[in-house]
């Protein structure tokens, strides 16, 4: 069976300045804003368990319950912020509000002493993250050519992930120099957050996404929910949701690897670094490839990498090469899907509704993954970890072709093609 996944943008609309259009400086600036913010948030995340157990003197038991609540809130806030960005036509300032909120949370961190205060600070930080993501992705999309959307999002995600990789490094260097220097980590984190917010506020233009040069129209077209009815967007949401339901958290895979081999057990606290490095190295190549051969195609192939990661994790054998292979495959999965999803959602949404469209896709994925984690926990309980992973892998192997069909270019049989 030959499945056409030909959604090459140049079939939809020729790029403005040739196939090799450059990535806009706005995208790079937004990437640097995200990088600075990720240095800020990841430096704190990396040391928070040490801080909570070692300094505040709480056992880690205390914060396990937070996870689900914050994921739910974050998803709702994301949709609302996307809608607000479209409705008011101010994506930059909605994003600014989100980044600003996270920066304010950093100030709170300097004064939080108990668990309740810490919980409040983390919640505010996560709310900020939920708010900023979709408007920012709408800005990226508005300042890119249709022909290089994948590359633009790839560039942004690479810079973002560099920040995520640098953050823990900076935090641990500070703690290496000043072993009780948690407050220094918080101050440095705040500094990165403030520079990021200033860069966004002062340099990034508030690009109002418009379909085409306005033809003497005093007001830009208004956002309406009806604008989200493109069948391609609906199919994307269904596809992303189906795949999200079979995307178990990295944490589960790391735990599985850790129980398997001494190598993974020893390096357990650092497994995520391997995934992140692969993600940042491949984000741009994956984006460019998506622009050339079709974003949906790369999105589907990315899930094949996830499938391969499951298979590797389920193998009865263990050892360093398999652990590393699993981390590489997870990195490929993120590089081929994270930015590409936003690019696909942009592609299928009219400019006036873009932030909402992107937010919808990201929310569907986030909620589906939340369900996936919970369900996977149940499967793990009923059938054991290895069988559970094999089961999810089989389901993913069945769903990938269905998704490939769903995302197939809808306008088939065009004359002359």
């Amino acid at each position: 069976m030959y499945i056409s996944l030909n959604d090459r943008p140049d079939d939809l609309q020729p790029p403005r300045s040739g196939a090799r259009a450059r990535v806009s400086s706005v995208v790079i600036t937004l990437g640097i804003v995200s990088m600075l913010t990720d240095v800020s948030s990841e430096s704190v995340s990396a040391i928070l368990p040490l801080y909570i157990t070692g300094v505040i003197g709480l056992s880690t038991v205390a914060y396990g319950f937070l996870d689900g609540i914050y994921q739910g809130i974050s998803a709702l806030v994301r949709i609302a912020a996307g809608w607000a960005a479209d409705r008011g036509g101010q994506p930059k300032w909605i994003a600014f509000f989100g980044y600003g909120l996270s920066a304010v949370a950093r100030i709170g961190l300097l004064f939080a002493t108990g668990f309740a205060a810490l919980t409040a600070v983390i919640t505010v930080d996560r709310l900020g993250k939920g708010i900023r993501t979709a408007p920012r992705d709408a800005l990226i999309s508005a300042s890119s050519d249709v022909g290089n959307l994948g590359r633009s999002f790839g560039t942004h995600r690479m810079l973002d992930t560099i920040g995520a990789a640098l953050g823990p490094l900076i935090a641990f260097v500070i703690l290496f120099l000043i072993p009780d220097g948690y407050s220094t980590v918080f101050v440095v984190s705040l500094a990165f957050a403030l520079i990021g917010v200033a860069l966004l506020g002062l340099v990034v233009p508030n690009i109002r996404p418009t379909a085409r040069p306005t033809e003497e129209r005093p007001s830009a077209p208004r956002f309406r929910w009806k604008q989200l009815t493109d069948p391609r967007l609906r199919r994307l949401l269904v596809a992303a949701g189906l795949l999200g339901l079979l995307t178990i958290g990295d944490g589960f895979l790391y735990l599985l690897l850790q129980t398997r081999g001494a190598f993974a057990a020893e390096w357990f606290p650092l497994l995520y670094v391997g995934t992140n490095l692969t993600f940042l190295a491949l984000a741009i190549p994956a984006g460019r490839l998506a622009d050339r051969v079709g974003r949906a195609r790369v999105f589907v192939v990315g899930h094949l990498a996830l499938l391969a990661a499951y298979v590797v994790a389920a193998l009865p054998a263990n050892g360093a090469p398999l652990t590393i292979a699993c981390l590489l495959l997870l990195g490929v999965f993120y590089a081929a899907t994270d930015g590409i999803l936003a690019a696909l959602a942009s592609q299928f949404t009219p400019p006036e509704a873009r932030a909402t469209g992107i937010a919808a896709a990201q929310t569907v994925v986030a909620l589906a993954r939340l369900i996936a984690s919970t369900t996977f926990g149940l499967l793990w309980f009923l059938y054991g970890s290895q069988t559970a992973v094999i089961g999810v892998a089989v389901a993913l192997a069945l769903v990938i072709p269905i998704v490939a069909l769903l995302l197939r270019r809808p306008t088939l049989n065009r004359a002359g093609v």
Binding site: F172, D180, A198, L199, L270
Partner: protein
Amino acid sequence: MTGRSRWWLLSAVTAVVITAATVYGVGEWRRYQALQAAPSSVDVIEGPALTGPRVLFRNTSVGNEYGLVAAVPLDDPGAPRTISDLECDRVDATSDRTVCLRTDRGVVTTFEATIYGADGTRESSSPLPGIPSRTRLSENSRLVATTAFVTGHSYLAVGFSTETVVTDIAAGTSANIEEFDFEVDGRPVTSPDRNMWGVTFATDDNTFFATAASGGRTWLVKGDLAARTLVAVTEGAECPALSPDESRIAYKKKTVSGGTAEWAVAILDVASGTEIVLPGDRSVDDQAEWLDDSTVLYGLPRIDAVGDNDIWAVAADGTSDPVLFIEHAWSPAVVRGG
């Protein structure tokens, strides 16, 4: 605002923020250096390691000996402490062995459990998956248990999970007690969210007690190392400590549930099953250690200083309030022999 003035403003903001953060960081570094150079704020004896009955602990008095294992004589806990060069987050010891859980800070921060012989020689070492939590040696030094958090880099990524490993030093075997058969009221619990932590050993080197958790509930469990089983004894009891005469178990009991948990120390009489909650108005998040058959020790963080703790003592029959036992100390280990 023109494009140029925006860039000037950005440069100014960046310069101010970087300068402020650098000044703060350098200030903190100098404070830490001064602290390192300063002598301990408590009385310290220089000299050879303390022998005989003693209490070992992690010294948390600020100064150049912060985090090092120290000891005081068992019969005179208020005496000046003898400081070793061993750095541990959690420590337990008998007259024959010492087990030390440690955080190796660095650009790559790792965690390890190391066992030392009576003369301080390093016998073995193994990596831990995360932040050290609890450790115990059996009375005759054959078994060692370690608990560490499995947190990865971000607490939001995995949530709360622990790994507890029991190692038979004589046989050279290790077992993750999460893989043991676990039953509550005769029904097996196989949920994947099972967590086990805080082991205490009986003197037969096979029986042990620990905490098991699943679905938001916790149980005190009795374990059998040879049979690889865990059986729930009572609910809501964490971090058990078996008394030297093995007649009672001290543990922390959750008194307030919800967002901020509070724990009190309680004593279970094994034969009769009666429980006494000991007096004390502060929440205790530690694994108790028996000083003798009538007194238990536990650590409490100092309210006025971060990273500093005190060890408190309380009568196990619940007749008196806790009293300060050793100041600026954490993770007590009572060495009775030797």
